[in-house]
């Protein structure tokens, strides 16, 4: 299946894959801390297991960015 992932064309050796499986397939570290857009739509994290990625989909993912100064 051909996909565009973070702006780059990629081929994965599966015909059907959920968003969660795709993150695993892409060796994403800490997938629970990753935000995902599918074809421009922001996905809620609890839906990663239930949404399937289709041929030619555009997938964007990036890490949660946060922190704090409490204990400087």
């Amino acid at each position: 299946m051909r996909l565009t992932i973070n702006g780059k064309e990629e081929t994965i050796e599966k015909n059907s894959v959920t968003v969660a499986q795709l993150l695993t397939e892409m060796n994403v570290e800490m997938p629970d801390m990753v935000s995902v857009e599918l074809n421009g739509d922001f996905l809620e994290r609890e839906n990663y297991d239930g949404i399937e990625v289709q041929e030619n989909d555009r997938v964007e993912f990036l890490y949660f960015m946060g922190g704090g100064s409490l204990i400087g």
Binding site: G7, F64, M65, G67, G68, G72
Partner: protein, 131 residues
Amino acid sequence: MITINKKIAERLFEQAKEGLPNEVCGYLAGKDGEVHEHYELENIDKSPEHFSMNPKEQFRAVKDAREKGYEILSCYHSHPETPARPSEEDIKLAYDSKIIYLIISLAGQNQEMKAFEIKDKNVKEIEVVIK
């Protein structure tokens, strides 16, 4: 090393001051370690002690940077009252080991910015060149 032009560096301090009492945050984008663009993002925590970037704004920034031929070099945030060094929370939440974490401190008289690589909870300070 990360190189930031003076205008952007000055703007980062301004943003940090405008955001008081809360922390502010954003991305720095560019090429070959040199920052050409910055993105001021919403701190959805709206807190003086924490920040979380608005993820929808993160996507917009990343895509805009890509269209301009840049990559995201750094995630920055401010420490309104503490030094420019990563807190325990900063280190714990540094999930992206490929990005430079820049901290802008407004503590005391010495406003400063410092940059760090954080990988596997190990922190290494890297040089910031402002030109």
